[in-house]
């Protein structure tokens, strides 16, 4: 694997002049890696809220009825959102996951973007599992209990 020579400082200085500082908006590549977990978090809160408010009003032993539909809809929406996020992030090359993952290939912003996309993709996978787990209680429990 080759590592390129360090960038010409002059070139970097030229970039600097075009560089106007980065607020939260400019650094969204960084925040974007939270997409998957945020979808999970949203789904989790919605499910909890649907369950808690339905069961608070329907009382113990009531069938889940509309609540299970709500959870199903939320789960579907979350999975679709996750799918879109996953597709948008699918820029990761098929390298080995453990060895040299995306390192030392090229020292440029593109590499950093790939890295962030890679982490974001992996997080989507974990979020996918977590969302399915969250939906499980609504499937398995037929009543509020």
């Amino acid at each position: 694997m080759t590592r390129p020579a360090r960038r010409e400082p002059q070139e970097a200085a030229r970039r600097d002049r075009r560089f106007h500082g980065e607020g939260p908006r400019q650094t969204r590549g960084l925040w974007r890696i939270a997409t998957g977990p945020l979808i999970w978090g949203g789904h989790f809160l919605v499910c909890y809220w649907i369950g808690a408010s339905w069961c608070a009003h329907a009382g113990p032993g009531a069938g889940l009825g509309p609540a299970s539909w709500g959870v199903a809809a939320a789960t579907l929406a979350a999975l679709v959102a996750l799918g879109f996020a996953f597709r948008a992030l699918r820029r990761v090359r098929g390298l080995s996951l453990t060895d040299d993952d995306l390192v030392y290939e090229a020292d440029d912003p593109e590499e950093r973007r790939r890295f962030l996309a890679h982490v974001a993709t992996l997080l989507c996978v974990v979020s996918f599992v977590a969302i399915l787990y969250t939906a499980l209680p609504a499937v398995m429990l037929e009543t509020c209990r």
Binding site: T2, P4, A13, W40, A52, E111, F115, A130, R145
Partner: protein, 855 residues
């Protein structure tokens, strides 16, 4: 290394404009650096703010509190060694376990993370210092004062004794000042944690060496970033809870009193929304130490860098969805339990990935044995066991049995020792030479491990069985013949074996060390940036700020150390005799600014002492002293901000070496101050949402909330407040723009308008409930309304102080169109405050309306 070597970099590319080959020049540079970074002597040593000093104090204090809490644990184990023991009575025992938990969690586990991060993060990032050394010092002094206050109370038999999670009504109804000491002391310490979080997040985002893109930063820094963010979102709900709790204790506002519309479960929610992420806040940074050590001893890069980032990030997020698993037995609907059980299982997946990445790294490398590796392996053995019992406890029906029993005691100590203490000791062995220039003894390290590890297992493994046999936690005595006698005796013996081992470790830390212990440079042959450091360590941190292009530059670039020693990278000099650091961009670490960093000052110490006075005097209800202290704190902090920040440099930019220039003054998103304000306000917003959660919580537990028949603030005054808050916000924003456009007169007028309307908005918000005669002691509805009014008014006050500060600064010539950092930071505050004020006003008006439409 498997990868082919990169072609050596042509010498010319690295050369500093001044010829770094000249030894006289280098000596002069080093002398100037040494002078600029000199540690103050004599009593002024206490005014030091450099990370090497503050970090050491921090770590030393945390370890001292740990020993204190450990001694309490030994007393408890001695008491429980045999049934019906009368070594101590329940009054002492209850204080002991409360302080043990409190001190271990708040005074050791979280602060030691901050201490270690403050100590080593600059070295990991090739930086001289973190961006706000005085803030670090302020945080440290807050922590020390608060910690001594909380722990000292046991000497006066006045310590809190309701358990470290302080459940009301036991803790609210309790006489004495124990609970107040806990609440106020801890709130004060939380200030320190949030200060450290801000410092560390900005440090990782903005103080990396040029070229260290986000995909190259050391894994420890990733963890620090994630844990810092978790602190920002986890501690504020507890601060909100503390506020409600203290209002109930002090003013009898019934948030947790069921006879007046409150609910004890609200506290449990707020506490555990903090409390569960806190577990991960404690353990992730120590796992991060493993992520730094394992590649070194395996002699290869970590296998799966992005997997580690993923798992840290995933754990961080999911840890916010687990809090109810501490409340499985409170009688919530089974469906809710199911959701939280699911999340509690899900969090095991990223945690497991972490472990397997470590194992894979060890597998791919040839492992050198060392004391840090020994402790790391011990950590792994303990942590995996603790994780597995955690998976069991996440299954709610099992938790019904295990909850609040010794099984939980065993589980939590397995996760904390394996996930935090053992990796920490490994990390201390590993980084000790970096910090002190001396090596810890290999022999003593092995000895202490082989006492601590078996001691730990002997102590805590039997507790699983003790718990399953029905022994509840927090009992100061137990009857003979319940099947617990032998198990408890064994546990107690183990505790003392562990303590002996830990004392060996502590002795190794503090024993006088001679030349034989002197550390060579890069003693572990690591590849990461921190091992650049010269031995013995210099006060300036790094000789120059390196240009980085790989994760393990010492392994990847044979000339790296030579060039570094010759000062051929950035900022090799302190021409103006100032402490300077390089600020770089968030994503790709492009140099943006040379930051003039604050030097020794008595202001952080003074400010912390005054603020500490506010909390301590308030505990004893000495209101005059509280007010005087508060005023003193305000004056000192304003003086600090006025003299210590936003200074106008003598020139707009300076050369940083390698043919590059960087600005000396920046404002807005480029500046560290703006980021610090932004991050602080995220935490502040979370605290507000914590209070707001209270409002919604009451909505769900009451048939109608606000209950019919109770007065409400009406619509007019909240809406008036909303309008005024909006005007204040727009005026601040417009003022900032006017100033930037050079219209200074308009700026001042708008700012004055913003100040006046901001205060008027708070007054209007308060007037609604006041005019309606809402009595906060009558019911939880008026109480939560008044709590939100207090929150809004306090923020309006702080906003007014900031706006006033900007006005004065504008007249004094400190704030000009070119130098506008103050108003830009104020604007950030205004954005967040406007959101909270408007949401509050809408809620006041809407809640009663919605209730009345509902059937």
């Amino acid at each position: 290394m498997t990868e082919p070597q990169a072609p050596a970099l042509p010498q010319a590319e690295r050369a500093h404009p001044e010829c770094q080959d000249d030894p006289d020049l280098r000596a002069a540079q080093e002398a100037r650096l040494r002078a600029a970074w000199a540690t103050p002597k004599g009593w002024r040593y206490l005014t030091a703010v450099n990370n090497t000093e503050v970090g050491l104090w921090y770590a030393g204090s945390a370890l001292a509190f740990m020993l204190f809490a450990g001694a309490l644990a030994l007393i408890m184990r001695a008491q429980l060694a045999v049934p019906e023991n009368d070594l101590v009575g329940p009054d002492f025992y209850n204080q002991a376990f409360t302080l043990h938990g409190t001190a271990m969690m708040f005074l050791f586990a979280v602060p030691i993370f901050e201490a270690v991060a403050i100590l080593i993060l600059p070295a990991l990032l090739g930086a001289r210092e973190l961006p706000f050394p005085r803030l670090s010092a302020f945080g440290f002094w807050c922590y020390l004062i608060g910690g001594v206050f909380v722990c000292g109370s046991i000497l006066f038999d006045a310590a809190p004794d309701a358990g470290w999670f302080m459940y009301p009504p036991l803790a609210t109804e309790q006489g004495g000042i124990g609970a107040d000491i806990w609440l106020l002391g801890l709130s004060f310490i939380e200030v320190a944690s949030i200060a450290a979080a801000v410092e560390l997040i900005v440090g990782v985002l903005k103080c990396r060496p040029p070229g260290m893109r986000l995909n190259l930063i050391p894994l420890y820094a990733w963890y620090v970033l994630i844990v810092g963010a978790m602190i920002l979102f986890a501690f504020p709900p507890l601060i909100a809870g503390d506020l409600l709790f203290e209002l109930e204790r002090l003013l009898d506002w019934p948030f947790f009193d069921p006879t007046r519309g409150g609910d004890p479960l609200l506290w449990q929610h707020l506490f555990w929304i903090f409390g569960h992420p806190e577990v991960y806040i404690i353990f992730l940074p120590s796992i991060a130490l493993l992520a730094m050590m394992i590649p070194t001893f395996a002699g290869r890069p970590i296998a799966g860098y992005s997997w580690i980032v993923l798992s840290a990030m995933g754990t961080g997020f999911i840890s916010f969805g687990l809090w109810v698993h501490h409340m499985f037995t409170t009688g919530l609907p089974s469906l809710s339990l199911g959701f939280f059980a699911a999340a509690s299982e899900a969090v095991a997946i990223p945690t497991g990935i972490q472990i397997f990445v470590f194992i894979a790294t060890l597998m791919l490398g040839t492992v050198r044995r060392s004391v840090p590796m020994l402790w790391s392996m011990g950590a792994l053995a303990i942590f995996v066991a603790g994780g597995l019992t955690g998976v069991m406890l996440a299954i709610a029906p099992f938790d019904f049995q295990a909850h609040d029993s010794y099984f939980i005691v065993a589980h939590l100590h397995f996760t904390l020792f394996g996930g935090m203490l053992f990796p920490l000791v490994a990390g201390i062995h590993y980084y000790y030479p970096l910090v002190t220039g001396r090596m810890l003894s290999r022999r003593l390290g092995v000895w202490s491990f082989w006492l601590c590890f078996p001691g730990f297992v002997i102590c805590f493994l039997p507790m699983h069985l003790t718990g399953m046999r029905g022994m509840p936690r927090r009992v100061w005595t137990y009857s003979e013949g319940l099947g617990w006698d032998t198990l408890n005796l064994v546990s107690s013996l183990g505790a003392f074996v562990f303590a002996a081992g830990f004392l060996v470790f502590i002795w190794d830390l503090i024993r006088p060390k001679g030349e034989a212990d002197r550390a060579p440079r890069n003693p572990w042959k690591g590849g990461a940036l921190e091992w650049l450091q010269e031995q013995p360590p210099r006060s300036w941190g790094v000789r120059c700020v390196p240009q980085v292009s790989s994760r393990y530059p010492l392994w990847d670039d044979p000339d790296f150390v030579r060039d570094y020693d010759a000062g051929r990278f950035y900022l090799p000099d302190a021409e103006e005799g100032r402490r300077e650091g390089l600020v770089t961009s968030v994503l790709d670490a492009e140099p943006e600014q040379v930051l003039r960093i604050g030097g020794p000052s008595v202001l952080p110490l003074g400010g912390a002492a005054a603020l500490g006075g506010v909390f301590i005097f308030a505990t004893f209800h000495w209101w005059w002293l509280t007010a005087i202290s508060g005023l003193g704190a305000l004056v000192l902090i304003l003086r600090w901000v006025w003299t210590g920040t936003g200074e106008h440099p003598e020139k707009p930019s300076k050369s940083i070496g390698l043919g590059r220039e960087a600005a000396l003054y920046v404002s807005g998103p480029k500046s560290t101050g703006w980021w610090a304000m932004f991050i602080t306000m995220l935490g502040d917003l979370t605290a507000f949402l914590g209070l707001f959660f209270g409002l919604f919580f009451f909505l769900t537990v009451h048939e109608a909330f606000p209950p019919l028949g109770l007065p409400v603030p009406g619509v007019v005054w909240p809406m008036a407040s909303l309008g005024l808050a909006a005007v204040s916000w727009l005026a601040t924003w417009g003022g900032r723009r006017a100033n930037a456009a050079g219209r200074v007169g308009a700026f001042r007028a708008l700012l004055a308008l913003a100040l006046a309307t901001g205060l008027a908005a708070a007054a209007a918000l308060a007037w609604g409930p006041w005019a309606a005669g809402m009595d906060p002691t009558a019911h939880s509805w008026p109480a939560i309304v008044w709590a939100l009014v207090l929150w809004s008014a306090a923020h309006a006050g702080v906003g007014a102080i900031m706006q006033g500060f900007c006005l004065v600064a504008s007249f004094a010539g400190r704030l000009t169109p070119a130098y506008d950092a103050d108003i830009r930071n104020t604007e950030v505050f205004a954005h967040f405050h406007a959101f909270a004020a408007i949401v509050t006003a809408v809620a006041f008006a809407a809640f009663p309306e919605v209730r009345e439409v509902a059937p």
